[in-house]
């Protein structure tokens, strides 16, 4: 163990900015990170124990206690519940004899909940020792637990074929399915790796590249929608010793899984996009920040990077362009949605807690290691390759006037064909429902843009997906009438934000929690009209939070009040101006038990 730890620390050159990688390796080797390991790491990296612990305690997948030889992380997203998670969870508990959050006494199996793992189109799904298990049923759970007890290795536990495409790659070997249902420039197969670097980049100046991107009018696909050309230009103009290109592959918004599919099927396109961005802004290093949940793609992606180096598409004098040096490395996260926020992502990549920074300064001026940094979504970078190939002009012929190009959507929930669809901007929600084979009579709502987006009802199904109407990072969850919108959906989303808040802002840390309590009060039949008004008002206060997480954490409640007010009105007592949930007999129970008193309640 001591030896191994030493090797791990050596592997990262005792570099404290690589603390994440070190902790990930220790966690995966040992199954947990011991007090001794923490001391050793702190000593070797010459940082304090607190430095190590604060990073460690921030991330969901790091643990200071053993998590079992087989560690099960069962997704608890809305769609998992829609697809039968409750029964699967019960099956796990029954078969193992422990509750979620516990490890079996023999240390063999640990059961844990986890936020959306990016498999919404094949739920219920779980990570077991980093490998994905999809389409779980109580029956499958029984088999899995039996297999574990029989000492099988993970792959022997798959009982289905491997997924399509590169999921079958020797280095991936995963049962995950791509479910690509509709292709466009990003997902299309007719892509020749390296062609744009060799045929276009070699004859363009960086300024011309930026000009072409600007001409295409493409905006960031990660959610915020910032014009990509402008971002590159800012970074190009910023002063710094070294510049960085980050690809944001954190993909934590529940219901989003398109980046996973792109990473699986078009990683070369993505890496080429990063090279182009690097050329345009004058960067020499690229970092792909990938969520921990996609660790099963690590070896595969690394082999592709090596292939690119071998073919001079990465490294020195790329594509024969004298003096253009650029390389890419992978940086894995360890389970924190907020790390998708660009400045938190940078903090995390520096080995720290993933807490968003105050902005300005923006990453384009002061990003990774305080140097100018571009952070772009996977899809944005992929699209850039096609823009250079076919021209910015061409790109504007796709989509709408203000929202050019295509969007890769992750569609899940109650429809016949969940999966990944690349469509031009300007599709209506109704189009989407038809395209995915949803029974329109049976759909009561669609969650557009994940929990941080908007919950809309049938009256709004003719709204369009574009930056001027329904902007979206690409997650659409179709919700059938059989679900209780407030109990099953809105509560779960709100809890998600509570779980994922980094805790820096008192607004985000407290108000979201208070709002959930109030929502539950209403659901318990104890609500009054004013509770609904309070929820709307409190939602406004959240807008002062530092990052998008807190700023949007009221959205599930507020947009459901806006579009489904009747569901709330039905639950509140009309004429009361106050109703308390307080129950004196409940509240004194614990102290009376402790002191052996009989409660006197009048």
């Amino acid at each position: 163990m001591a030896m191994q730890l030493e090797n791990i620390i050596e592997k990262y050159n005792k570099d404290k900015t690589r603390l994440m990688d070190i902790l990930i390796d220790v966690q995966s080797e040992e199954g947990y990170i011991s007090e001794d390991a923490i001391k050793k790491i702190a000593g070797e990296l010459d940082i304090s124990l607190a430095d190590v612990k604060q990073t460690m305690s921030f991330y969901h997948f790091f643990s200071d206690k053993p998590t079992g030889k087989y560690t099960v992380y069962l997704n608890d997203s809305v769609v998992a519940y829609m697809m039968g998670r409750q029964k699967v969870k019960e099956a796990f508990e029954k078969e193992t004899g422990i509750k979620f959050g516990e490890v079996t006494p023999d240390g063999l199996i640990g059961l844990f909940d986890t936020s959306c793992i990016g498999m919404n189109d094949q739920e219920p799904a779980a990570l077991i020792n980093g490998k994905v298990f999809t389409d779980l049923t109580p029956f499958r759970v029984k088999e899995i637990i039996q297999d574990i007890r029989d000492g099988k290795n993970i792959e022997e536990m798959y009982r289905s074929d491997l997924g399509e495409g590169e999921n079958r790659n020797e280095l991936v070997r995963s049962v995950v399915r791509n479910n690509i249902r509709r292709i466009g420039p990003v997902l299309s197969k007719d892509y020749i790796p390296g062609r744009v670097i060799k045929e276009k980049l070699t004859s363009m100046t960086p300024e011309e590249v930026i000009h072409e991107i600007k001409k295409s009018n493409i905006r960031g696909r990660g959610g915020a929608g910032f014009p990509t050309g402008l971002k590159w230009e800012f970074c190009r103009k910023a002063k710094g010793e070294k510049k960085y290109i980050f690809c944001n592959a954190d993909e934590g918004e529940p219901g989003t899984f398109k980046d996973r599919v792109i990473l699986t099927e078009r990683p070369k396109l993505l890496f080429e996009g990063m090279v182009i961005a690097g050329y345009a802004v004058g960067a020499t290093e690229g970092i792909v920040y990938i969520r921990y949940e996609y660790m099963y793609l690590k070896k595969y992606l690394e082999s592709i990077l090596q292939g690119a180096r071998d073919r001079n598409l990465l490294g020195k004098n790329i594509g024969g362009i004298e003096g253009f040096n650029f390389d890419i490395r992978l940086q894995f996260g360890a389970g924190a949605y907020v790390c998708g926020e660009e400045s938190a992502l940078i903090e995390s990549a520096e080995g720290k807690r993933g807490e968003p920074r105050d902005r300005p300064p923006f990453p384009v001026e002061k990003g990774y290691l305080d140097q100018p940094t571009v952070v772009n979504n996977v899809e944005t970078l992929c699209s850039a390759v096609k823009i250079l190939l076919n021209g910015g002009e061409w790109y504007t012929t796709l989509g709408t006037a203000n929202s050019t190009g295509t969007k890769v959507l992750s569609i899940s929930g109650d429809c016949r064909y969940p999966g990944v669809y690349e469509v031009e901007w300007g599709f209506s929600v109704k189009d989407i429902l038809e395209m995915t084979g949803a029974d329109q009579e049976d759909v009561q709502a669609v969650q557009v843009g994940g929990p941080s987006g908007t919950l809309i009802g049938p009256k709004e199904f003719n709204r369009l997906l574009c930056y001027h109407d329904l902007a979206t990072g690409g997650s659409l969850i179709i919700i059938g009438k059989q679900h209780n919108l407030l109990k099953d959906i809105v509560t779960n989303f709100t809890q998600f934000f509570i779980n994922e808040s980094c805790g820096s802002c008192s607004t985000c840390r407290n108000i979201t929690f208070q709002m959930k309590e109030k929502l539950e009060k209403i659901l318990d039949g104890k609500g009054i009209e004013k509770d609904i008004d309070d929820l709307v008002e409190w939602g406004k206060i959240l807008k002062v939070s530092r990052c998008g997480l807190g700023q949007t954490s009221a959205n599930p409640i507020v947009t459901s009040i806006r579009n489904f007010r009747h569901l709330y009105d039905e639950l509140v007592a009309g004429d009361k101006d106050f109703e308390s949930e307080f129950d004196l007999s409940e509240a004194v129970k614990a102290s009376c038990d402790a002191t052996g008193r009989i409660p006197v309640l009048n």
Binding site: A587, A590, A594
Partner: protein, 182 residues
């Protein structure tokens, strides 16, 4: 016209908020001109003798007696004001909210470093004692609260301005100084 009637109480508070009320200095004379006091530690009237207009509540609710008093205030006062951090949020006493009640009692009466002469290992359990609640509750979770005056304690001027506004019906004066906390 008869004077508006004010009642005050300290629940799970430290009396600091009441001290702050007294901190209005010589304006206390104006106050007596302006209002009449009923149940309050200030005049030592122990039970309500009539319906009141304004009830000032210091402290949150940590035991069953607090609950009874607070509900009694709600019954007897037209307007209830949560006065200070403890009434509004639970305040310092609410620090125990994350700890199981049994653990608190054991620490206080059995295991704590300052425990002396408790050979019989008794945790007070006389029926005359109020029963502790599982956690400390802010007042607005028990009854409807109409107004909140923040601060620990709220500044004398803030309390004064609020009372004057309530009594006169004029808009409340809220200069920066009275709600500045550092």
């Amino acid at each position: 016209m008869s004077k508006p009637i004010v009642a005050t109480t300290s629940l799970a508070g430290c009396f600091g908020c009441h001290m702050s009320l007294l901190d209005i200095d010589e304006r206390i004379l104006d106050l007596i001109e302006l209002v009449e006091f009923n149940k309050s530690p200030i005049d030592d009237i122990k039970t309500f003798t009539k319906q009141c207009d304004i009830g000032l509540i210091e402290g949150g609710c940590c035991n069953s007696e607090n609950i009874h008093v607070l509900k009694d205030f709600r019954k007897h006062c037209k307007i209830l004001v949560s006065l200070g951090e403890c009434a509004i949020m639970g305040g310092l006493p609410a620090l125990r909210n994350g700890i199981a009640i049994k653990e608190c009692l054991d620490e206080a009466y059995l295991n704590g470093p300052t425990v002396r002469d408790n050979d019989k290992q008794i945790v007070p359990n006389d029926d005359e004692l109020p029963m502790l609640l599982d956690k400390v509750y802010p007042c607005h979770e028990i009854v409807k609260i109409d107004y909140y005056l923040p601060g620990c304690p709220p500044r004398a001027d803030l309390i004064w301005n609020a009372l004057v506004a309530l009594v006169t019906g004029d808009e409340m004066k809220l200069p920066y100084e009275v709600i500045k906390f550092d």
